[in-house]
Amino acid sequence: MTTRYDTIVIGAGHNGLTCAAYLAKAGKKVLVLEAKDRIGGMAITEPTEDGVLIPTCAHLLYQLHPDVIRDLNLNLKMAASSLPTIALGSDGRHLKILGETLTAMNGADLSSKDQENYTQVMRDLKKFARVLGALLGQKPPRLKNRDWEDTKTLLKLGLSIRMMGRKSMQEFLRIALLNIADQLEDHLENDLLMGVTAMEAVWGTHLAPRSPGSVLSLMYRLAGSMEGTQGAIGIPAGGMGKVSEALEQAATRAGATIRTNAPVKSLLVENDTVIGVELESGEKLLANSVASSADPQRTFLSLLGAEHLDAGFTRRLNKIRNRGDAAKVNLVLDGLPEFNGLSQQDLAAKLVIAPSINYIEKAFNHAKYGEFSEHPALEITLPTVVDPASSRSNKHVLSIVAQYAPYQLKAGWSEEQRADLGEAVIRTLEAYAPNIRKQIVSQQVLTPSDLEQLFNVTGGHWHHLEIQVDQLLMMRPLHGTAQYETPIGGLFLCGAGAHPGGNVTGAPGMNAAQRILSRKG
């Protein structure tokens, strides 16, 4: 107990590492504690016996904050930084989307009116997303604390909405809380196009296209950029794990210490202030502040303990929406898969099975009643195609996000339920790639319940909690914890549960570090 750290960071996921790197760079003595035997959290790449690298959870990069890359001088090479999206049609007639450009494949229906309107809809959404994007890299402004910096942020936000012009401002305010299905159906007529665009709004959420607020979640998704291109998606060379490794190097380079296999049992509290942590091993470590990238419920209820919090706060905490509804399925194939109507070259893309808004809604109906979708919507990448270096054999990987698979399955998640979910995914795939079943060498099915276990994320939600208007900005994760601070002194939040939220962005970690550094004394 001789060393006293400036800050102990709990969790070596990308946000924990980002926070640690910023703090260490500012000359602080920083220790990162990771419960698991490896760093990276949900952004990891794991080798298999088949000689391929699997993106266990996250498989696409589209929002890593440019400030994080620049400030931390991240050594990150991209295998692809502008992947097209291909909306799969069951008849082999697909739509390819790159930016705002649409291409009909194999004679798919696509009217010139849809072409034109799609471009306009996406341009508007991206314009609105840029307004939100400006808020990602800073602490969310609070409304009542009379802080000049917050007032400035609010004025700038108001001004930037007004500066879009009167018509755009009205449109922004009109659609901000709308559901994405209404917005798309107002302008488009192509089912496949509407399906894939609507699905973009609801990946990783417990929302369907007709759920209120799904326009906002799409704006949030479009707020990020890849190498200067807004809304672009990419895959790092060597896989998603490379993002975490680059952040680890940045943190270590700046002088932070990282310990794995060091699960925190509880936070040490003295005089209503967090003064350090106690590990499961019994070891006690002291620090001037503790920044937790664990999810809010875990941080407050498991690590801090309800007895240090007010009952109204823990009541709200208990009600936050943090139940994941997305499963991850990783298939190792004995060769390149054959999708109807796709060439080998086309496989270097994000493939989406969400052929219409109603398809997604029907898939979601199951989740509403505690079942997984019979015909799930799928987001598929082939990392071994995009980045050939990630396979040392002739085998390939299908990395699939499958929706919907609710965290709280009515029947409870069991070996059998998990197998049935895997079967539903493969059955869905077969309609587009008829020979796929024979090609499967091994498969990994991770339900939200599995993700919870694997990554210590309560509810198995990849944003830690829903990105919804009541859990955004100064209300994220909940009233009483704005701006990375918590009700108790010395404890900060630096994970996806804090503003601006999930996805591999590094923004919560970066903002939290700046908040900790700006503290007086």
């Binding site: 309800a306 007895e307 009952a311 109204g312 009700p487």
Partner: protein, 410 residues
């Protein structure tokens, strides 16, 4: 023709489960109906209880000169048990529960996150991990919310226990006459079980009148037996049942505050500024900042350190004999500085008493030249009286017999 085995329609209808709507009778109801000449009933937490039986004044004088029965069965009673019970209770209330020993009772308030009072009541401690919380208003939801993260079991025992408030100078003698052996050892705020009618009678030396008295807790099936035994043993000692109106006079003399009268449940108010902190209700002594965290602690510490309490709760003696119901309080007869929350002409003290909520600094730094504007109805002609008022300590009425152990046999 063979007899039909299927029930007839009318039978089917009568077989429907009856939903008990409306007010519930308490276990003492049969006796109360017999005695309640005024037929004046009021609602308390779903139950009917008498406002009065025959005469509010005579019932009041029974409290101060004899013995009285007041039915507190509707009192909400919650059992809190389990390994974390003490930790839970200490997080629930601002006072230090560790200091309440088994066999003791303590008055307590509890607050929301903003440090505003939700309710007040009494905590009974039965053992290291066993408590009962009694309150006037329902608290189950807040208790359950507060239980998140604690290994405790919370049971609503409201309907499982019948209770009487047994108050007045002759109560001790009556209990003795009833054969309750050892009751003389009970000190104020002690509780103890005694055998009675083949069951356990819990006696606590507590009450809401500021006089010598007890509260008696028993299983509902034995309630009438208890009532009858008390009435029989007290026949020579002016025993009488009383209603809520007489009790209210005594409780103001005792200086006790009452939820929904002197303050409102902070989560029930529509206007968020209507919540009141313990410092604003003269309950500073309830707040123990040194014991660790409790709900509302950070807000209360901020209020204390920032000296930002808005109100001050005071006891007043007012000139004249017109009770100052709902009156406004003025400084120098000009500036409106607060209002009366409870008022009574005290028949025992022959004094015009009231409790008032004043805007600080009045009541704290400025205590002189206070006036109360009382409206008096003289046969539909309203007179306005500006009466001088003086801040005095509570309790207004505090007789030595209340504290004496063993109590005197009046």
């Amino acid at each position: 023709m063979t007899k039909s085995i299927s029930p007839r329609k009318s039978e089917l209808l009568s077989a429907k489960p009856r939903i008990n709507a409306g007010r519930k009778p308490t276990p003492f109801h049969p006796r109360q109906v017999e005695k309640c000449e005024t037929n004046d009933w009021t609602l308390w937490a779903g139950y009917s209880v008498p406002n009065s039986y025959h005469s509010v004044e005579l019932e009041y004088f029974s409290i101060r000169n004899g013995a009285t029965l007041y039915d507190i069965s509707p009192m909400c009673k919650y059992r809190i048990k389990g390994p974390d019970a003490e930790r839970f209770m200490n997080r629930f209330v601002p006072r230090d529960v560790k200091k309440i020993k088994p066999g003791r009772v303590a008055y307590a308030i509890w607050c929301n996150d903003e440090g505003h009072i939700l309710d007040d009541g009494t905590i009974f401690r039965f053992g290291p991990d066993d408590f009962r919380l009694c309150s006037q208003e329902r608290q189950y939801a807040w208790l359950m919310d507060s239980a998140l993260g604690f290994n405790v079991e919370i049971l609503d025992e409201t309907d499982d226990i019948a209770a009487l408030q047994f108050q007045g100078p002759t109560t001790f003698a009556i209990l003795e006459a009833m054969g309750i052996k050892g009751v003389e050892t009970l000190k104020p705020f002690d509780h103890k079980n005694f055998p009675f009618a083949g069951t356990e009678l819990m006696v606590s030396r507590t009450g809401f009148t500021g006089d010598l008295g007890y509260e008696l807790w028993i299983e509902p099936g034995k309630a009438l037996e208890l009532w009858d035994a008390l009435m029989a043993a007290g026949a020579d000692r002016t025993i009488s049942p009383i209603g809520s109106l007489a009790l209210d006079m005594a409780r103001i003399e005792a200086g006790f505050i009452q939820p929904t009268v002197d303050f409102l449940h902070a989560e029930h108010v529509v206007r968020h500024t209507r919540g009141r902190s313990p410092f604003e209700l003269g309950l500073d002594w309830q707040v123990d900042f040194g014991k660790g965290h409790f709900t509302g602690r950070r807000a209360l510490l901020k209020e204390k350190e920032g000296n930002s309490s808005r109100y001050c709760f005071v006891g007043l003696e007012i000139e004249g004999n017109k009770p100052a119901h709902n009156a406004l309080v003025y400084h120098k007869q000009k500036k409106e500085i607060g209002h009366i929350t409870s008022a009574v002409w005290s028949p025992t003290m022959k004094n015009n008493l009231a409790m008032a909520l004043l805007q600080r600094p009045f009541g704290v730094d400025i205590q002189e030249d206070l006036w109360v504007e009382i409206y008096v109805d003289k046969e539909l002609k309203w007179d306005r009286v500006m009466a001088k008022a003086k801040i005095v300590d509570r309790p207004f009425f505090n007789p030595p017999r209340k504290r004496l152990t063993p109590p005197a046999r009046f």
